[in-house]
Amino acid sequence: MIYFTELQDLPIYDVKGEFVGVLKDLAVDPSQNALRVASYLVRTPRKNMLCITHEQMQSISVRAGQTTVPEDSIRCYAPDESLLHIKKDVLDQQIIDVNHRKVVRVNDVDFDIRPTDGHTELSILDVNVGMGAAIRRLLQGIVAKHVIRQIAGLVAPRTIPWGFVNLIESDPGRRVKLRISFDRLAELHPADIAEILEELSRDEQKAVIESLDDETAAQALSEIPTKMQADLLESMPSEKAADVLEEMPPDEAADVLQELPPETSAGLLADMETEEAKEVRDLLGFEKHTAGALMTTDFIVVGETATVEGAIVGLKYFEGPLESVHVIYLINSDLVLTGAVSLARILLAEANTPLLQLVIDPLIFIDSNADDKAVVNQFHKYNLVALPVVDEKHRLLGVVTADDVLELVVQKK
């Protein structure tokens, strides 16, 4: 194994033993091989930059490197955006450690050296984020390399295997060229992605959100502070923002839209699918800090004459989030809320039992104009997981779920 710090400023000689220059950077070509160092950038004493390809590198060690060709057959370096440069793009930059779900800064990059038919190949093993690497960076070029190895070896290394490293590139075009995928990141829990997002700068957040699929992006966004959500959505292309908004729970979407300037949120609503936009628009009609503004319109409702079987059909076709399935609501022909049945009781009852026999007694609900505090009190008093919200004629409008109340309480603290 060899560290990038040890390779930096390494003297390079050509096949005849003539000094070519010093190694300045390594480049990987992700379109061919995501791990192998494809070219070595060398600065000559005349300050020219040369690019030695991996086939031209005979041998490389902590002492020196030697090419298989004479100096005049090495080509000049032309900047290439599709190459990943270790020093320029990785070293000292922030990356996402997908395994530990954290944002860290790279202190060093570790390589594997392997002789391959007639030349030597380097391939990336991991990035180093520990104290040992920091010591190496500090002493590099001042103290002999083997001494540095001994000193840095005293500290337990902290490395992240390259497979768990997610680079953050804010230029979308370059992201494609470098084949940076966010698949592994997308597998994390949305709450963890949200925590990572909060550590990043605005452009980096944008890069991450834009690379996630709409659903994951929406879930992760729902977990970060509303103000940050608004900033991010505003900086995204309007269509992508609208797609993400559609996937968000309507109450969250309404909250963000309220945070945005009126013209922007009107534009986004226009870009959203009609059905989703309508739900959000209805929610926007409610005064801030009321049950109406807090509730979601994603809930399961069936006619009051339905049986357990009917409720199960309702459940099957329900597309909303998991936190909304705990309670099923009954309404009459005037849309008035007449009962609520918990999922647990439905599971235990016979298929032909009328739901009216299973309702929670007494029925607890709240007026859409009631304030946040009243909502919290109801949850606390009756140990609720969900609270239906009605208008002045007792028609069911939406449901406040426990997660939103918890957020409210935590925010207040």
Binding site: L91, N107, R137, S201, R202, K227
Partner: protein, 422 residues
């Protein structure tokens, strides 16, 4: 129509209030114990004759702070982050170690200011300093971000103590006004050193790091940058107004009665008593205590923040001790060392530490300013928000002048016999 205009004004006001804070707070921390001492000394030794320097100093401060705030808004990253990404680990590390040394010295002088200010109010430093340290630590660690920011903004209001104290000293307002706008210059080494001291105390390296991080923390959008700029400008002007009142208060009393050599800021407070009355004296001391506690809060916090930021440790008061051990050790360590130094070391023994920190500050400032100017001209970082040619000329000139002055100041601290006020 009228209503619409009012609504627009109201929205703008709301946005401004949401953005405001970093600039004003940073600028006020600048008037810390060391600053108050320098201003008192300037007033006591040279009367009104140094007031004119405040206008160019304010302009220089605005030029520098505006750039930092702009970088914070546009890049969304702290200055330490940007330096690390651009100049690598070693330079960042050296910079951070130097900042740590300089800020430890500054923290000690804040606690010394607290001790001497409370001394005037009749409280011994063996009670004042530990209580101050515990208050500062608990406020930052236990308080929420909103609470902390509010406490800080209230502390900013308490700087009113200086204008009040100044009014009680009955200065000559005509002369104050004239001296502020009309530059006078004396080719006298002491006078020159005093000017350099004023610049050095006003434009410090740590402020740039703190301001940029605070702006980033606020999450100001590029669209709202104009409000941030006002935050910075208002902050800088308020700071130097406070400085003006301190200088004038001392000029009207100490200078006028011939007490031209004072050893610390509390001495100025004490000297005010027979000349301007007990109230003026207490107000002056209260101002000193407020400024010291305020800065003793922000300095260690800011230092812990950007050292961790630059070196890649986890940081933030919303993290727990186990998650961010380096951050909490730095923050707590600075406060504890600062407080202990003031309680255990005699004043003579504190002098070399303060001197060292001033020298380190002087060495650091050129690097920080040059890094800043290079970063803010980078197209890939700043895009259309980078400096234009005119602003670059102003900025480079300002920085060169500051650099030359600080270098002279740094050298002069090694030859204290040259100073007339020792």
């Amino acid at each position: 129509m009228e209503k619409k205009r009012f609504q627009r004004f109201r929205t703008q006001l709301l946005v401004f209030l949401a953005v405001v804070g970093p600039g004003i707070i940073t600028a006020n921390v600048d008037n810390d114990a060391g600053g108050i001492y320098t201003y008192s000394m300037a007033g006591a030794a040279y009367g009104y004759s140094l007031l004119w320097t405040l206008i160019p100093i304010t302009v220089a401060l605005i030029v520098v702070q505006e750039m930092v705030a702009r970088m914070g808004v546009i890049t969304g990253k702290g200055l330490a982050d940007l330096i690390r990404e651009e100049y690598g680990f070693r330079i960042t590390f050296i910079l951070m170690v130097m900042l740590l040394v300089a800020d430890l010295g500054n923290t000690i002088s804040e606690f010394a200011g607290l001790a001497s200010g409370m001394g005037v109010l009749g409280v011994t430093r063996f009670i004042a300093v530990p209580m101050g340290a515990v208050f500062v630590w608990a406020l930052v660690v236990e308080g929420t971000y909103r609470l902390v920011e509010r406490v800080f903004l209230v502390a900013c209001l308490f700087y009113i103590a200086y204008p009040l104290s100044c009014f009680l000293a009955h200065p000559d307002w005509t002369e104050t006004l004239l001296s502020t706008v009309k530059p006078t210059f004396h080719f006298q080494s002491g006078y020159l050193y005093m000017i350099i001291g004023l610049v050095g105390t006003t434009i410090a390296p740590w402020m740039q790091f703190y301001l940029q991080s605070a702006v980033v923390e606020k999450g100001v959008k590029p669209r709202d940058y104009k409000y941030s700029r006002w935050d910075v400008i208002v902050g800088c002007i308020v700071t130097d107004l406070v400085a003006l009142f301190i200088i004038v208060a001392c000029a009207a009393t100490l200078y006028a009665s011939g007490q031209r050599d004072i050893k610390d800021a509390s001495e100025a407070a004490l000297a005010l008593r027979p000349l301007a009355g007990r109230a003026a004296s207490y107000l002056f001391a209260f101002g000193l205590v407020n400024a010291s506690v305020f800065s003793a809060c922000i300095l260690p916090l800011a230092t812990a923040y950007y050292v961790c930021e630059g070196l890649g440790f986890e940081s933030g008061i919303n993290k727990r001790l186990r998650e961010a051990p380096a951050f909490y050790s730095l923050f707590t360590g600075l406060i504890v060392l600062g407080a202990l130094a003031v309680m255990l070391l005699s004043e003579e023994k504190q002098v070399p530490i303060t001197l060292l920190s001033q020298v380190v500050n002087g060495i650091l400032l050129p690097f920080v300013l040059i890094f800043m100017l290079r970063l803010i001209n980078r197209k890939d970082l700043m895009g259309e928000y980078r400096n234009n040619r005119t602003f670059n000329i102003i900025a480079w000139t300002t920085c060169v002048v500051i650099l030359v002055l600080t270098l002279v100041y740094g050298v002069s601290t090694f030859f204290p016999t040259e100073l007339p006020f020792k």
